[in-house]
């Protein structure tokens, strides 16, 4: 491309049809097709020739055979005087066999009797424009398929099918499974597609020939891109497939690219074509290849992330099981010690009581933490099972609150209860789960607003929405410094903590609380300002859907031991003024 005129895609070409005066008639033209009279270097080079070479050729030598009849029909109209000029997009054949799309304008030079004397062809190479559009469409289509699901083995077949509509006639995609990427040890079935449904049987044979094919499998791990000039020989060598199949594939162009992402070879895509593949098609192939490699890599990362999450949840489940086991005798021993103390009224035993109580409280804290760890691993894998029974929400609050007597006193918080006297707010709920939610909220209030009053109210409420339902509404309000807006949005997410590490906690309480409320078909919302934070929870009085409950045989007694529960010697409050 060293000539100035090479810069232009527009290449006027003069063609002569009448080196002999006797050839003016259309029939003569068609009988003795026109010869190139003059052409410029730009056009010649576009289709792989030197201008001198081109002048030795005829139109039919360079026009793509499929497009010739259309061209001739237009010419006939031109010669018959039906057309003054014509314009069409058609393909020329590059000397190396690939096609070049041109925008062709044909204008005749006529003599005095209006007979066509010469033709002037204005030819614009529109290959790159067409390729770009086609590439855009193809890449968009491929991306769409790949985005729909990360289950890549199923999708590769669809991708291959889409590719053959735009690029070549055959597409073969092979991926390297799992984490052995780059070693080519195990491969998924090759995705094989052909543009012509009539060749499904050949596609099946190719698929079968590649399944378990060691040469094919090892070719997948190669990072080297291959443009084939002798596709038949190359395929025979690379895939070790038989001559009959090679005959039926009938390819003259082949391009094989590695699917590479982050320096890992994830597989290989091979494009086979009846015609040689041109530069535009190479570009298209590269882009499609990149998209697929990226999607495969994303799928791999997704898979690894899922595996990691699964491993974590399994670990949490095992860890909480293991932690519960020593907690069981520990708790029983503390109960026994506290019980023994009751039998021995001595000064020393009196002094022991608060120490034992503190120790037992720590055991309960451990139990609660283990419970949360266990809940979170269970919540990520399945839905929460509720054990529904008639529960009075105010009564639950009344029972839970005294458990915090010591912590409230230590934090200097005054807790006041407003429990909807007279309005029995009874629903079918899971009592222990409600306790868990209330305890989480009180724990948070003490943690984030020490030294400030805390108010808990239970009152009748209604759900929002088109058909409001009656609810029992629980409000827990503190007067702390509030929650920053950025945190407020994520407050119900797992492991989201606002507190500095020194305040402790796993960031699970509100996540679990929301899941519990959700399982009861309820709602939980939070409002916060610099004057304090208020959680509002609505539990529909109709209760949770029955499907959420574990079904038990009628009349069966199933008491369930839980982590944090009331200890008989801990209930009560030293300071009567705390409760109102």
């Amino acid at each position: 491309m060293d000539q100035p005129d090479d810069r232009s895609d527009v290449a006027p070409v003069l063609v002569v049809d009448d080196h002999d005066e006797s050839l003016r008639a259309m029939e003569d033209i068609l009988a003795r097709p026109g010869e190139w009279l003059r052409t410029n270097r730009c056009f010649a080079r576009k289709i792989g020739y030197e201008p001198g070479d081109l002048l030795n050729l005829r139109m039919e030598d360079v026009v793509y055979p499929v497009d010739l009849p259309g061209d001739r029909a237009k010419l006939r109209q031109l010669f018959d005087g039906e057309l003054d000029t014509y314009h069409r997009e058609e393909r020329y054949l590059h000397k190396d066999g690939h096609t070049v799309w041109v925008d062709l304008t044909v204008s005749p030079l006529r003599d005095a009797s209006s007979k066509v004397k010469n033709l002037i062809l204005l030819i614009e190479d529109i290959t790159s424009r067409r390729d770009a559009k086609k590439r855009e469409r193809l890449v968009a289509g491929v991306s769409q398929i790949l985005l729909q699901s990360l289950d890549h083995p199923a999708d590769m077949g669809r991708v291959a099918q889409l590719v053959v509509g735009s690029l070549g006639q055959w597409c073969v995609i092979g991926t390297i499974d799992g984490h052995g990427a780059g070693r080519g040890e195990s491969t998924a079935e090759a995705a094989v597609a052909h543009a012509d449904p009539g060749l499904a049987a050949v596609a099946d044979r190719l698929r079968a020939a590649l399944a378990g094919n060691a040469e094919y499998a090892s070719s997948l791990a190669s990072p080297v891109p291959l443009t084939s000039v002798a596709p038949r020989d190359d395929l025979r060598a690379a895939w070790n497939i038989d001559e009959g199949l090679l005959d039926d594939l009938a390819v003259n162009g082949a391009l094989s690219l590695p699917l590479v992402s982050h320096d890992r070879v994830l597989g290989r895509i091979t494009f086979l074509s009846v015609d040689a593949l041109g530069p535009g098609e190479l570009l298209m192939a590269q882009e499609v290849t990149q998209r697929i490699a990226l999607a495969l890599d994303n799928a791999r990362l997704h898979r690894e992330a899922e595996d990691a999450v699964r491993a974590r949840d399994e670990f949490l489940s095992i860890a909480s099981h293991e932690l519960r086991t020593p907690l069981t005798p520990l708790r029983i021993h503390f109960q026994r010690m506290l019980d023994e103390r009751g039998q021995l009224v001595t000064e020393r035993a009196e002094r022991m009581q608060p120490i034992l109580q503190r120790c037992e409280r720590q055991v309960r804290r451990l139990e609660a933490l283990v419970e949360n760890l266990f809940d979170v691993s269970r919540l990520t894998t399945g839905k929460m099972n509720l054990r529904l029974a008639e529960v009075d929400l105010a009564e639950v609050v009344r029972e839970v609150a005294p458990r915090f007597a010591e912590e409230l006193a230590a934090a200097g918080c005054h807790l006041s209860l407003d429990l909807a006297a007279g309005a029995a707010l009874v629903g079918r709920w899971d009592r222990l789960r409600l306790e868990q939610v209330i305890m989480n909220l009180i724990t948070n209030a003490i943690k984030y607003a020490p030294g400030k009053p805390i108010e808990i109210a239970v009152a009748p409420g209604t759900t929002r929405g088109s058909s409001p339902e009656r609810t029992a509404r629980l409000t827990v309000r503190d007067h702390g410094g509030g929650i920053p807006p950025a945190d407020l949005e994520r407050i119900f997410q797992r492991y989201h903590r606002i507190a500095p590490p020194s305040l402790g906690g796993l960031g699970l309480g509100l996540f679990i609380s929301k899941k519990i409320v959700d399982a009861h078909r309820g709602s939980i919302s939070v409002e916060s300002s610099c004057e304090g934070t208020q959680f509002v929870l609505d539990f529909p009085l109709q209760g949770a859907a029955d499907t959420a409950a574990i079904s038990l045989p009628d009349g069966q007694k199933i008491p369930i031991g839980t982590g944090p529960g009331p200890g008989p010697t801990l209930v009560g409050c030293n300071d009567p003024g705390v409760w109102s």
Partner: protein
């Protein structure tokens, strides 16, 4: 833990199948303080062996069964108990540290760490409560 005499139902013998020695020991101690005879079993296999060989009058009145035990699990013990007509009415109290896949048709399920008073109350009731 305020009551020192055993339940009025005449429940005497408790088969305690639990692989964790610390849990087994403390539960055994507490039950023996209350006057129960406790047959400790370290594995499901031991529990089954006892059930297979015990005379009619030596059979336990209540079975306390940990679900997750090595070799023979609590599930397998439960299955065996259900297949034995002479044992089908025996109350079974299940102990578990997991909460998925709870067995049905048992007297009670206690999640670890459990409250010993709850366990005592269940054993006390044990004789009167039949699995459905």
């Amino acid at each position: 833990m305020g009551v020192s005499e055993q339940g009025s139902g005449g429940c005497k013998t408790v088969l305690l199948a639990e692989d964790d020695q610390d849990i087994r020991d403390v539960v055994q101690e507490v039950l023996e303080e209350r006057g129960y005879d406790v047959i400790p079993a370290r594995t499901g296999r031991q529990a089954l062996d006892f059930l297979a060989t015990a005379d009619v009058d030596a059979r336990p009145d209540v079975v306390i069964l940990d679900l997750m035990m090595p070799i023979v699990t609590g599930w397998q013990v439960l299955e065996e108990i259900r297949q034995r007509p002479d044992l089908e009415n025996i109350p079974v109290i299940v102990l578990t540290a997991v909460s998925q896949d709870m067995p049905t048709g048992v007297t009670a399920i206690l999640r670890k760490p459990f409250n010993i008073d709850e366990l005592l109350a269940l054993i006390g009731d044990g004789v009167g409560v039949k699995p459905s």
